[in-house]
Symmetry: C2
Subunit: 109 residues, 2 copies
Amino acid sequence: MAVVTIEAGAPCATLINTFTTTPENQQHILDILLEATEKHIAQLPGFICANFHKTSDGTRIVNYAQWKTKQDHLNMLSDPVAARHISELRQLAAVDAHIYEVVRTFAAT
Amino acid sequence: MAVVTIEAGAPCATLINTFTTTPENQQHILDILLEATEKHIAQLPGFICANFHKTSDGTRIVNYAQWKTKQDHLNMLSDPVAARHISELRQLAAVDAHIYEVVRTFAAT
């Protein structure tokens, strides 16, 4: 379980990374992502959290992640071990990653 | 500010809704989304939270939302007021909405 603080104007970079794939590959991609995050990426400087989601039709995975700064995320992308995982994932899925800022949040009252 | 609980196997439906648009329309779309959520959608049954994000290049907005059940989300889609907002948004952006389940979460230690 993770309790994620999502806050408008928060000084962090939100990465939303969507992997579009086939049902045959969804679990394999998740295995790569979970292992890479647990063993390596979560220990990199600036890592706050990563949260992996899947659709029941097998075609999508989303990582909702937070890094302290955009630069920390860029540094992860050029880390040799992470870059190898990313290259492997690009063979299995269309990868669509963007950095966002939080505009506003609503919670049920 | 919102503190969002993201939990593997949690009994809620995660909606990740991506709006792809042009820089000229990004703020207008956000205005529609924020007003509709504040005045109407956040009061619908099963609403847990909505969290709006934007990219700095002006081309994307993401709503990371939680509903108690998939059916609550479906009920929102067929609510007449919400449906009117969705129809308006589809004139301004490509809307790509999917329901996810949380697989696993990682937080910095």
